[in-house]
């Protein structure tokens, strides 16, 4: 068998249909609807009067991601401004989670755009808590004393525009 014969043979083997199957992609946990919805419920529950504006949900979800951000929220109360802190990022995935939560009946949205927990949402939240899940997040939220008012969230956002 000559070299060219062998080459032709190899080409012959290769002349077969190639199939590519898309493998499922790994997704960051924060992009999972189950987790994100649960977090939204926790955040709304933490808000003053159990009612949170769209901005407040975004700000608190953003703050949940690190300890220093939470500290900033906590310090809103005493009015010491976070001069050297980054701006709040609005996460489109959160909007989808909120839409889903409203659609599935966990959250209610008033005409003014304020979110509050529905009875179903409250049940779901207590289930999550009873299962001992989201421990770190729960702990982070409790580290901020009291409930977080929508006006203090507005105050946080004002720094951005200053």
């Amino acid at each position: 068998m000559t070299a060219s014969d062998l080459g032709a043979d190899v080409l012959g083997w290769l002349d077969a249909p190639l199939n590519f199957v898309a493998r499922p992609d790994p997704v960051a946990p924060n992009d999972r609807p189950e987790r994100r919805i649960a977090l939204c419920l926790m955040v709304v529950d933490k808000s003053w009067g159990g009612r949170a504006t769209w901005k407040a949900v975004h700000v608190l979800s953003w703050a949940l991601k690190s300890h220093s951000r939470l500290e900033m929220v906590a310090r809103l109360r005493d009015g010491t401004g976070p001069a050297d802190r980054p701006v709040v990022r609005f996460d489109p995935a959160l909007d989808r989670a909120l839409d889903l939560a409203v659609g599935l009946g966990f959250l209610a949205r008033s005409d003014a755009g304020v979110f509050s927990l529905t009875p179903v949402g409250q049940d779901a939240l207590s289930e999550v808590r009873a299962a001992g899940l989201f421990v770190d997040e729960e702990e982070a939220l409790t580290s901020v004393k009291g409930k977080i008012s929508n006006s203090s969230v507005e105050r946080l956002l004002e720094w951005r525009t200053k």
């Binding site: 898309a22 499922p24 992609d25 946990p29 189950e34 919805i37 889903l100 659609g103 599935l104 289930e127």
Partner: protein, 683 residues
Amino acid sequence: MNLNVRHLRLRAHTGQGVYGADIPFKPGLMVVRAENSRGKSTAVQSILFALGLERMITTRPTSAVTSAMRDRLIYDADSKAETEVLSSRVIVEIEGASGNAACVTRWVADDTLSPNLVRVHEGPLSELTSDTPFVDYYVGRSGGASSERGFHVWLAEFIGWDMPELPAREGRTSQLYMEQVFPLLFVEQRRGWGGIQAQMPVFSGVTEVRKRAVEFLLSLDVGRQDLTRQRLRAEEAELVASWQVATQAFARSLDGTGMRLDGVPSRLPSAWPTEDRQATVSEASGGEEWVPLDAALAACVAELAALENANVEQVADDSAAENERAAQISGRIIEALDESRRIRAIDLALREDILRDEAEVRTVEHRLAALREDLRQHQDVVTLQKLGSTISEQMSSDCPVCHQHLPSTLLPGDVPTMTPSDSVDYIKKQILLFESMLGDSSSAVEAKRERWISVRSRSDDLALTVQALRDDLLGRSGGPSAATVARVVQLRDREKRLRATAERLAEFQIRLETLAARAVEVRAALRAVPSDDLSDEDRKKLRALQRSFVDQLKAYDFGSFSNEMIVVSEDDYLPRRDNFDLQADISASDSVRVIWAYLLGLLEVGEQFSTNHPGFLVFDEPKQQSAKDFSFAALLRRAAGGTAGRQVVFATSEPLETLRPMLEGLSHTLHVVDGYLLQRVSE
């Protein structure tokens, strides 16, 4: 194994004189009969007290005996007048494994002698005089069962028992105490009839102590094997820990010396040392390679010897030679400076390398932290789904309005997504990968640091050499050169360090070899221990126990259900029916029959096989729960049988007119207490 009570003597000194009782005991069936509240329990409990077993029934030693021996006794039967007990004691004559008799005295109340004291006279009570030698032991405090003067150490030897050491909680071991075996030999009226081993004190932290007590009494192989296995496992764990401690300590002792340890597995291996696995120490040469400790030491010694021999040749006297010498020194200075430059370059390169590697280690650490956080968050989602929580339920169904699938991700577009549990597996694999990367990078950084240290010290040495060579160049010739002297000092210092390390390495190697050799033995021994199962002999004993037990239940007219359904469990050696504890759902009087049958059964097995049963059994008021006369008579009959060595003691208040017919035709000894047990005696 043997224990027999031959005589019980009680003495109490009061203001009204000395009161007391004497009950001679005989082997075989021994019935002590007394009216209720006339001192029957005093007699029975006094035996327990004298033998230091009161912890079976109480935590306070003297409350084990009735108040008649402790504070006040009735001295006048008619008027029930009481008098204070000033001093009282119990003396029991017992017979042990060798057939010898000993008298055991314990004071219940006394001004000078504590109730923790037990006095033992060797010999029978009849020969006891004030001159008989005695030994004092103590009981009821720590050491009572283990130290040389502990009464239970003496008693165990007397009975012929070797109390086993059992694995207890928190990796400790604890002895099986006599108080834990005697509930199978001695049923006391107040608490003993609640069930088999009802009086078991569990103070030692030994797990499954009831089971262990039966295993001991029947001398089952399975118990011994289990103990052997647990002891070996504990020893193996200890060896593994020692290995790690020794290895870590030695590796740490090399930190900052420019040396490192190789070839020692971090976990105790199955064989060590092997051809490719030996403990070696190597030293960073300054360049890429590592020199084995032996080679470094040999090089050092050789250089030292060469220098010391060359010293003499350093002498020069004419000017030509002087010039020659100067040229030589200059040449060596240039050489040393070149070497120094080379070393500095390595130093810089290494420092950069180390910084880079450290940065890499930090990156990997950050990545690991992020992965672990991801894992935690994903696990939350998985748990949420497994729980079937409202949220996950809703998410898994379709949209109620448009009937489309709800998205599995919040990302835009329709991307196939890993399920949360797939993600958990995926992240776990990544974590494993990054952990091994971290391990590799960390050990690389550590090795480079040692190399760097060695380069720095080489650089220091060179600076000194150059300095000394300069001195040589300027100074007069004739003596030994300063450079050589400096080098010799350096080399001697180095030789000392290397030798010390080599010595420690040799010690370390011996330690590891000892550990590895012992581990091989322990592991082989572990493999040699038969499996958890009962041995054939064990099974024979348990079957004999079951036969005797069922036989007796028939004889005692056990009523709760058919006897054929009862088996003695191979797990806890207790009688079971359809895998349920027999004592759980039977009537109170049947429960008493179960205790009779089980304990007498243990004694009968001891008569057929080689066991630790001492052939001794005490039932205080066995006719509990108004057991039928018919059953009680059968019990007496059964107890009166058996071999000559056994002693079954019954203390009862059964009326004589019913008791006597029951005992008729049986080989027995009946002791009837007339009136109060404690009566005026002359001493």
